[in-house]
């Protein structure tokens, strides 16, 4: 979209852009023409474009005492020490030997590994804004972009949102290159492809589509790239922007892409034939396609012993159902099906209900809303105050409310249990959607009893059944009762038996590893015998 013809003058540019038939995305005040050989005119064009940009530094000097040079860079994004040492020093202290081509001799003198020649001011300004210093030489109709970028960035830390007990501790950072380097450190293969894209008219956010060639379905990769290139937006600040712009069903409560800050999670997805979308400026990468089950699989599952992982996984499934259904079932039973409750329990429940003024439905909604509010308050607050909130919330809301006779003790237990169980879902986003669906379920349970709960469940399953994530049915692993696929769903099969990659991500290279890798003392080769 940078083909709009116009003058360098910013004002007229804007006018012509808005009057043009194309979308008003002409934020680049440069004409696409090639650069002028005269340094003065190039400098003037740059200075006009970057008017009132106090962070742009212009440093002019003379190459070998004769040729005028101009170094332009963004303060804070360029390595000024390096510029001094490797660019300005060698150029100004040149030997003065006469050579024909100035551009070639300048290039020869500059001691920087990465030099790219830019033939238009447009390219120059883009490079400049990416942090690369631009060297303009009088008499040369091009600018040299020097790979001397350097800015402050966070070091690699343990991911906060997804911590593991056993597993790599490194998480993604805000810098795209560090993140892709982390992927490359894990998958050391030329087949790991990292295709670059730029999204956002103003932010020009770098986005990388990562996949393993030969494992990922080419149709899937093309689809991801097509959807990304359709995006027209001012800026991308976080992966959430992209997620909302490329998902299949925008109104669904369920997430259709995994966002993760763990390089190992991304790599294991890539090895399963999925595609990852890495975004500059955020430690979160997106992975597609996903099924609902992938939201219930934690990275730990694959690092712990498989028996333990299997049990933990089942615990998670049970508590997922609990977190969705427990309050609504409790309300339904209390309101419509008291006969299901065993006699002694019913008595104690009835006696605690005696003093409570609200019907069970109102009580449940009240408590669930309070719990959500507490959780939300705890997230936003600084850590020190967060502890205070949980104490106040837990003690005051829980204990005191029961004693004051506003809510019943069983209801507090139910709400606390659902709260905890919703935190058992490894992916935070999936947990939120389940928590959100809990409220309509409570309403259904309070109005139609268990029938309503069943209706709600059917409706949710129906909706999930109709969802697709990049062409893969959301429930695909559950709907095809194929044992090989179930190995990663019902149980977490040991690695030596997970021979096949998930089928839905493509037919390529279905086999993961050769058979018969089950270890044992009879395998030989060691001192085990």
């Amino acid at each position: 979209m940078r083909t709009i013809k116009g003058l360098i003058d910013g004002k007229r540019k804007r006018k012509s852009a808005s009057s043009a038939s194309e979308a008003p995305d002409a934020v680049d005040p440069f004409q696409p023409d090639r650069m002028h050989p005269e340094l003065k005119r190039n400098e003037q064009a740059l200075r006009d474009a970057f008017k009132s940009c106090s962070d742009i530094v212009y440093r002019s000097f003379q190459f070998e005492g004769r040729t005028e040079c101009l170094l332009v860079y963004v303060e804070g994004l360029a390595d000024s020490d390096g510029l001094q040492k490797f660019v300005i020093a060698p150029l100004t202290q040149g030997s003065g030997e006469a050579s024909g081509d100035i551009a070639a001799s300048v290039k020869r003198s500059v001691a920087v590994s990465e030099i790219r020649e830019m033939s238009t001011l447009q390219d120059c300004s883009n490079r400049l804004l990416d942090g690369e210093p631009i060297l303009l030489v009088d008499g040369v109709a091009s600018g040299l972009a020097l790979g001397l970028t350097k800015w402050e960035s966070r070091s690699i830390e343990e991911p906060v949102a997804e911590s593991t007990i056993r597993g790599p501790r490194g998480g993604f950072t805000e810098t795209l290159r560090i993140n892709t380097a982390q992927l490359r450190r894990i998958i050391k293969s030329s087949r790991l492809k990292l295709e670059p894209l730029e999204i956002g008219e103003y932010t020009r956010t770098k986005v990388v589509v990562a996949y393993v060639e030969g494992l990922a379905d080419t149709k899937l990769v093309d689809e991801v790239k097509a959807r990304l290139s359709r995006i027209r937006i001012d800026g991308i600040l976080e992966s959430g922007y992209i997620e909302e712009l490329i998902e299949d069903q925008p109104f669904s409560p369920f997430p259709q892409l995994i966002s993760t800050e763990r390089p190992d999670t991304v790599c294991s997805s890539l090895l399963e034939g999925r595609v990852a979308i890495m975004i500059d400026g955020t430690p979160f990468a997106l992975v597609a396609p996903v099924t609902f089950v992938s939201f219930l699989q934690a990275a730990d599952d694959y690092y712990q012993r498989f028996l333990i992982s299997t049990i933990v996984r089942w615990l998670r499934y049970i508590f997922l159902a609990l977190s969705l259904l427990l309050p609504s079932i409790y309300v339904a039973i209390l309101t419509y099906h008291q006969e299901m409750v065993p006699g002694t329990l019913l008595l104690s429940m009835a006696s605690s209900r005696e003093i409570v003024p609200f019907p069970a439905l109102v009580e449940a909604l009240l408590m669930e809303a309070t719990f959500e509010a507490l959780r939300e308050a705890g997230v936003r607050l600084p850590k020190q105050i967060g502890a205070a909130v949980s104490i106040v919330g837990g003690l005051v809301i829980g204990q005191a409310a029961v004693q004051a006779g506003i809510v019943t003790a069983p209801m507090v237990i139910v709400v606390a249990l659902t709260g905890i169980s919703s935190f058992m879902i490894p992916r935070y986003v999936a947990g939120i959607s389940v928590r959100m669906l809990r409220f309509p379920m409570i309403l259904l349970g309070g109005t139609l009893g268990l029938l309503g709960v069943m209706m709600g469940t059917i409706a949710i399953v129906l909706h999930m059944g109709s969802l697709r994530s990049f062409g893969v049915p959301y429930l695909s692993t559950l709907q095809t009762p194929i044992f090989d696929e179930m190995k990663d769903v019902l149980i977490r099969a040991p690695w030596w038996s997970m021979r096949r990659r998930p089928r839905f991500t493509g037919e390529y290279n279905a086999l993961r590893q050769p058979p018969a890798q089950k270890p044992g003392p009879d395998k030989g080769g060691g001192a085990g015998n």
């Binding site: 709960v453 209706m455 059917i458 129906l462």
Partner: protein, 279 residues
């Protein structure tokens, strides 16, 4: 998918209907009744092989000619619609009669119809996917009936075939109507990726239906004995009997749950058939 379709409404009241004729030999009825199911599957697969990619409404025109074929299609549409209406009514009566006494039947009916309509709108793929997920959910509570083993009385089985085979055959007249619902699979055959396996899976679901019906008949008979034919919903009664460790009592609400799920699948399937017939 066919399994819950056939069984959903069947298992609730069938034991009673067959018992009215066959008394203590009612467990034999599904076996005889299954013959019609076998016939239905055979017909459906064979017809499909003759006219691949077409539903019965489409190929009935090529078999019988344009006008009789269209008439047949209309007739089939009417009967499917009537079946659907009947099932929903039956379901709503069960729910309001046994559980939610004060709820207006209209609400019960319309909520389920809404869900089924959404499912049908999602197409056959969504239907199949939901059916696969719901089938275990549907079957699982049936195993709770095993908790009744201490209450079962094997002597109710005797005497076998006391009055000859005729009452058994009479008793199987009603269940065979359920089994013939398997013919509905002919509407799904054109949509299958691998229609050759359809016959096999039809047979498997037929066997599953027979086994489940046998199981339910046995439980109902051994639990209730001669009293069986007086109960409207023997399985409901059976669920009420369940009492384990004074804790698992009165599990009939579970029955309601599976009943809803099964009915949802069944009604969706019938609605889908009606829609396909109409189009």
């Amino acid at each position: 998918m066919m399994y819950p379709t056939v069984l959903a409404t069947g298992f609730l009241s069938l034991p009673t209907i067959s018992a009215q004729f066959a008394n203590n030999d009612l467990w034999l009825t599904p076996i005889f009744a299954s013959l019609s199911g076998l016939l239905a599957i055979f017909l459906a697969t064979r017809l499909h092989r003759l006219y691949p990619g077409q539903t019965i409404v489409e190929y009935s025109r090529s078999i019988a000619g344009a006008i009789p074929g269209t008439l047949f299609g209309c007739f089939y549409l009417l009967s499917v619609l009537q079946d659907t209406g009947l099932m929903i009514r039956q379901y709503a009566e069960f729910v309001t009669g046994a559980f939610l006494f004060k709820t207006p039947m209209l609400l019960v009916i319309s909520s389920l119809m809404l869900l089924s309509a959404i499912a049908v709108r999602g197409g056959v793929e969504l239907l199949a996917r939901c059916a696969v997920i719901f089938t275990p959910l549907f079957c699982l509570p049936l195993f709770f009936l095993l908790l009744l083993i201490p209450e079962l009385h094997a002597q109710y089985l005797l005497p076998v075939l006391e009055r000859g085979i005729v009452p058994v055959l009479q008793g199987s007249a009603t269940p065979q109507a359920w089994f013939s619902e398997l013919f509905i699979m002919s509407f799904f055959l054109p949509r299958l990726a691998d229609p050759d396996k359809a016959g096999k899976w039809g047979a498997i679901s037929l066997t599953a239906v027979i086994l489940s019906l046998l199981y339910i008949d046995f439980i109902a008979l051994l639990l209730l004995g001669p009293d069986l034919s007086n109960k409207i919903y023997p399985v409901l009664v059976a669920f009420r009997y369940i009492s384990l460790a004074d804790f698992f009592e009165n599990l009939e609400a579970m029955l309601l749950a599976i009943w809803v799920v099964g009915n949802f699948v069944k009604i969706s399937v019938f609605l889908y058939v009606a829609v396909v017939t109409l189009s």
